[in-house]
Amino acid sequence: MEHIAGRKSGLSWAVHFSALALVIVWVLPTLGLLVSSFRTTDQIRSSGWWAALFPAVQNETYRTADPDEARVDLGDGLYLVSGNIFVEGGVAANLDEIVREITVWGASSRAIDAYQPDEVADLGEGETLTVTARGDYEWRGTADQIEGRGARIFVTVSAPPDFTLGNYQNVLFDPSNREGMSKAFFNTLTVTIPATIIPILIAAFAAYALAWMEFPGRALLIAAVVGLLVVPLQLALIPLLKLHNDIGIGKGYLGVWLAHTGFGLPLAIYLLRNYMVGLPREVIENARVDGATEFQIFTRIILPLSFPALASFAIFQFLWTWNDLLVAMVFLIDSSGETTVMTRQLVEMMGTRGGDWEILATSAFVSIAVPLVVFFSLQRYLVRGLLAGSVK
């Protein structure tokens, strides 16, 4: 298309623009989650993540200090309670650290925007209340009016953007957080690493046999592997769970490692065989002529040369087992709570903390962080693996 004279710049801008639009649509959902994980609860509740950089308008409810403790006798039977709702409400450490600004306020839940800052509200029979934009309040009245619990003050505030690392701290490091991800993180790692390493070795030997050894039935076996690639693992759940129960493994790490190995073997054999078939025949023939045993050929020549394919499969299997939910739920997770994996924690949280986006978003990001790192750093191998045998 570059050769089309005169149409270049117009078409080229259209292409850039369309590509940009596509990329933006694809990245937007994940970006939303990432931004939300750094915001505080109040902010998430009051504005969408796209407005994270703008001040958020929030409706809040505060209470004046307890009159029984804080009221001041002004004489003539009048009493005063005064203070600052933000400092007393715990959202600011002292008057200098107030970042909120009140835009309107009210004294009743029925009319939360009845008054402007500094306006004096007449609550009837001489009782008055006034609130400044900074949150300082004065509540005056007789002894009967200024008693009991503090008066409620409803404010609409404009709060500047407030980003925090607290969510990550809570999710990852807080030991009293029952839904914390740190244990799940280590469990997921424990499930993934053996489940990635063990199939590689088994598959490599089999792939070599299918690629470079002549024997009757080879074509049939290759076809069988291709067929097994397609078998959905749903079919294997009940029989294998029964099998594991019968031979005494029950639910646990050993079971899930074996299961992942079994389910990952077809892909491993397929990928590795396709790659090994492409290795130069002469190298192998020469080695045979030189008297090397098959085992030596395999370990000294084939394995090193097959490294790209091994890496591809390793990444595939790593991502697949890290992101897996169903196999873990069936073969691993029991009621002790010690064996949960991150995907499981996330699903539980979607139910129990579904409204708490700061926790949900942060946990989700913790769970996808490692795969993303693996993905971005080892993309090459992943792509190569995908292409093996797919391009015709």
Partner: protein, 453 residues
């Protein structure tokens, strides 16, 4: 109904100034202080030494009820030297079945539903507690024989055995509200159902939204609606009709049941009545739904839910002052008295051991109940406890409702078999909340009853 086990709600740590003990840490209430029955504790500790043994307990409680139960376990550990752990799951009902079959069941399972426990007993997955324990419950629980009946199921050979020890019960016929919001608006607490409906209409006319209803609960989504329907059944029909309904002696699609479902629909399928509209009912998690009560301006004014819901009120909410409850009223014109719906969680042994039996003994001591009562959100029919240990007057009030109702009935869906009570009844109600026809939904549920007969 379902969340009977959540019955450990109420005032939060902040308001009562209480420090939360972690699972293996210090004891929440120092031994020897307060109104607790420490004598029973000392006697238990002296009689049991289980150093080195473990007890695993699994149940549906998540934070914060789970933290309160952990605080109780700390006492058991201190008394016996054993190691006790509790793990909770939102999909406990599924998990426990899988685990029991796989042989990796915990020592004790906390069942939110007798129906599910009965299923497992019939499959031989539970260990009986024995006739002695049954006799103890009969004598020491208020309305003891009823609690024994609720915990008795047929074993694999068809013989009835006592399996379930009820620990943590709750009252469900409550409506929660914010008294100050009612004051601001000039509303009165209704004492009859007709007044309640009139109040709802009044709130709509004033521009507000009367109700917050949320059915979401992970794999158990739909159970709050079953509580509504059961409460309404008790208010529109006599108790024996309710009993027949629960046992499927009258079919689920009986017109009287459909009428109760449609009465629920009057509340939940009315866009003007519910915060977020009828469409939000099934998608809002039940733990998030009370939040509307405390919003500014109020998102809703009333929330019908069991006594454990204060655990999910915002931090710092003082039950009795910031939020309070009134009895979900009955129809004045139907003259059916003041029926109360309640539920409870029962503990059953899924993997016996000496330490496990000792834990059951611990649960029989008054102090075990009192420690939970004092943390809030826990009610008990144990007649030997000191009522003064109830954390708040509110709880004491609920306890009294429990004991004084003219008609008390256990949550119906908890009594139904698991496939119905933890299956089609839940999903049917979600479908109904989403717009399905009440009669059609009832037909589907009746079909699942027929399928298991």
């Amino acid at each position: 109904m379902k969340r009977s086990f959540y019955a450990s709600a109420a005032a939060l740590a902040l308001s009562s100034g209480m420090a939360m003990a972690d699972a293996h840490g210090g004891l929440v209430f120092p031994v020897g202080e307060g109104d607790f029955n420490w004598a029973s504790y000392e006697a238990f500790a002296a009689a049991h030494d289980l150093t080195g043994q473990t007890v695993t307990i699994s149940g549906p409680w998540l934070s914060p009820e789970a933290d309160r139960f952990d605080a109780l376990l700390a006492y058991f550990e201190a008394a016996t030297g054993a190691d006790a752990t509790y793990t909770g799951s939102d999909s406990f009902e599924q998990q426990i079945v899988i685990d029991a079959e796989a042989g990796s069941a915990p020592n004790i399972a906390v069942f939110p539903q007798p129906g599910l426990a009965a299923n497992m007993a019939a499959n031989g997955l539970l260990t009986p507690l024995g006739a002695d324990n049954a006799a103890w419950v009969s004598e020491n629980f208020a309305a003891g024989p009823s609690w024994v009946d609720l915990g008795t199921y047929a074993d694999q050979s068809g013989a009835d055995q006592f399996y379930g020890f009820f620990f943590n019960v709750n009252v469900k016929s409550l409506v929660w509200y914010v008294p100050e919001n009612f004051e601001d608006a000039g509303y009165e607490v209704p004492t009859t159902m007709e007044e309640l409906i009139a109040l709802s209409d009044q709130i709509v006319a004033d521009g507000g939204t009367p109700w917050c209803i949320g059915l979401g609960s992970g794999a158990a989504t739909g159970w709050p609606a079953t509580d509504w329907v059961e409460d309404l059944m008790l208010r529109t029909q006599t108790p024996d009709v309710y009993d027949a309904w629960v046992a499927n002696e009258i079919p689920f699609n009986d017109p009287r049941v459909v009428e109760a479902i449609e009465t629920f629909g009057q509340f939940a399928r009315n866009d003007a009545y519910v915060m977020g509209g009828a469409g939000a009912v099934a998608t809002t998690d039940f733990r998030d739904s009370p939040a509307g009560l405390f919003q500014s301006p109020p998102g809703c004014y009333m929330h019908r839910q069991a006594s454990f819901i204060p655990a999910f009120f915002p931090d710092g909410t003082v039950v009795g002052e910031d939020a309070d409850f009134f009895y979900f009223p009955a129809f004045a014109e139907k003259d059916l008295g003041s029926p109360v719906l309640g539920g409870g969680t029962l503990m059953a042994i899924t993997d016996p051991s000496d330490a496990t039996m000792a834990f059951v003994e611990f649960l029989k001591t008054p102090v075990a109940h009192e420690i939970m009562m004092a943390q809030g959100g826990f009610l008990t029919p144990h007649s030997g406890v000191n009522l003064a240990t109830y954390e708040t007057d509110t709880l004491r009030g609920q306890g009294e409702i429990l004991l004084n109702a003219t008609t008390f009935r256990f949550d119906g869906s908890d009594l139904m078999p698991g496939a119905i009570g933890a299956g089609s009844f839940w999903t049917g109600m979600v479908d109904y909340a989403g717009g399905a026809d009440a009669a059609a939904v009832a037909d589907t549920i009746q079909q699942s009853w027929d399928a298991i007969k």
